[in-house]
């Protein structure tokens, strides 16, 4: 049973001021937090620790009485991560409590080396654990921030464009990972439905490399589109990628491929019953065409 709680309670104000001095002497990010706020944060944490330690248990921090301390530390860590503190700076907030604590303990228990050692050890392990907790919470917040940013970037980089009535295209740029390909897939399929498109062109001109996993994802997307009633054309396959595909033994037998986006578009137009006709403007009277086709009539057909 640790007597740390009593000790903390008795020496609260001195501990706090010593701790503040420690912190102010170390790396002090005044640009991110002013002294008054730091003082408040430190005081509240110290009080919480004192309260929790009253049960006599300072080794098992998963127990109920330590929940307020854990929550408080998680909040502090989390907000510091968002504010721009580094993980060490955040951990030091907790670790810097050691020195003042040990100093006071030594003064207080000078005559009782046995107890001094025990309580110092308790205090040491306690602060280590609190420090680790702080770092973990910090990391978690950072990871969440990164995940959110990645998601936002993902949304920006996978636009699906309508090329013509009934034809959509998705120009993929950059490396495709599992996560991104999933987003691409869902985006393409929902756009197919929304625009009522029978043909979808997946252009991979901007994709530097394709591995088995990416190829599998693309194939899944194409199969899913087919199940829904739309056809996919894969275009922009660079020679190196064609080689990789063959080497990896990926079977593209059921997939229509075109070397360029232009070829894919031509095929897509054909599949949707459209045709592109050259208009010779040089030698025709207004309203007349060389091949005898009525321009207005053709324009109406094209827009259909």
């Amino acid at each position: 049973m640790s007597k740390l709680a009593d000790f903390l309670q008795k020496n609260e104000s001195e501990l706090l001021s010593d701790w503040m001095n420690e912190q102010l002497a170390g790396v002090r990010r005044r640009d991110l937090m002013n002294d008054a706020d730091l003082q408040t944060q430190s005081a509240e944490l110290l009080r919480a620790i004192t309260q929790a330690a009253k049960n006599g248990n300072v080794t098992d921090l998963s127990r109920g009485e330590w929940t307020p301390v854990r929550d408080r530390l998680t909040d502090i860590s989390s907000s510091r991560a968002k504010q721009g503190f580094s993980s060490s700076e955040t951990a030091m907030f907790v670790f810097s409590l050691k020195q003042p604590l040990f100093k006071r303990l030594r003064t207080e228990l000078a005559k009782d080396p046995e107890t001094l050692f025990t309580e110092t050890w308790h205090a040491n392990t306690l602060i280590d654990k609190l420090g680790l907790m702080t770092t973990e919470a910090f990391m978690k917040t950072k990871e969440q921030l990164i995940a959110k940013q990645a998601e936002e970037m993902l949304e920006l980089s996978t636009p699906v464009v309508k090329l013509w009535q009934g034809i959509v295209a998705i120009p993929l740029i950059g490396t495709l990972d599992s996560n991104r390909t999933q987003v691409v897939m869902e985006s393409l399929l929902s756009t197919i439905v929304a625009t009522n498109s029978k043909v979808a062109i997946i252009d991979i001109t901007g994709v530097p490399a394709v591995d088995t996993l990416v190829a599998q994802h693309l194939l899944k997307t194409i199969t899913a589109a087919k199940l829904m009633g739309a056809e996919c054309i894969l275009s922009g396959i660079r020679p190196q990628i064609a080689q990789t595909i063959v080497h990896l033994g990926i079977n593209l037998a059921d997939v229509i491929t075109k070397a360029s986006l232009a070829d894919a578009l031509a095929l897509a137009l054909q599949k949707t019953g459209k045709t592109v006709v050259r208009v010779d403007r040089a030698n025709q009277k207004p309203g007349e065409r060389k091949d005898g086709v009525d321009e207005k009539d053709l324009a109406e057909k094209k827009g259909a």
Partner: protein, 132 residues
């Protein structure tokens, strides 16, 4: 017992599946459709699954079976309106449903059905007067 209604449109049959089917209901549909094709001499079947949020391997197999059975009875089948999430899940499950024709919606489905029936008649030299 509840059944899924089958509508007749000239030479075609139209089925709209809107409920979360339990196995028995699905099998009943299979029976009802094959009977209806036979009884009406239908040339085409349009199955609208745009309201189906879940298609598992059982339902998938049932749909593929209907398509196969219809073909034996000289009718073409088109499945329309599959939701993206359903398509993605079916592919992940490994059900590619080869041999099943699909279209984005009822309109595109009817168009496809007409084309298929026409092509089939040309192929099989059928000079039966099929109005649709």
């Amino acid at each position: 017992m509840d059944r899924i209604p089958i509508l007749r449109m000239g030479n075609f049959l139209l089925v709209t599946i809107q409920v979360d089917m339990h196995d028995q209901l699905a099998l009943t549909l299979q029976d009802d459709l094959t009977s209806a094709i036979s009884k009406n001499g239908s040339r085409g079947v349009l199955i609208d699954i745009s309201s189906l949020e879940i298609v598992d391997s059982f339902i998938g197999r049932m749909l593929a079976n209907i398509s196969a059975m219809a073909r034996i009875l000289d009718a073409q089948t088109v499945l329309v309106g599959m939701q993206p999430a359903v398509a993605i899940t079916l592919v992940e499950l490994g059900m590619a449903m080869p041999g099943v024709k699909t279209a984005l919606n009822v309109e595109a489905g009817m168009e496809l059905l007409r084309e298929l029936v026409k092509a089939h008649h040309l192929e099989t030299g059928d000079d039966d007067d099929s109005q649709n």
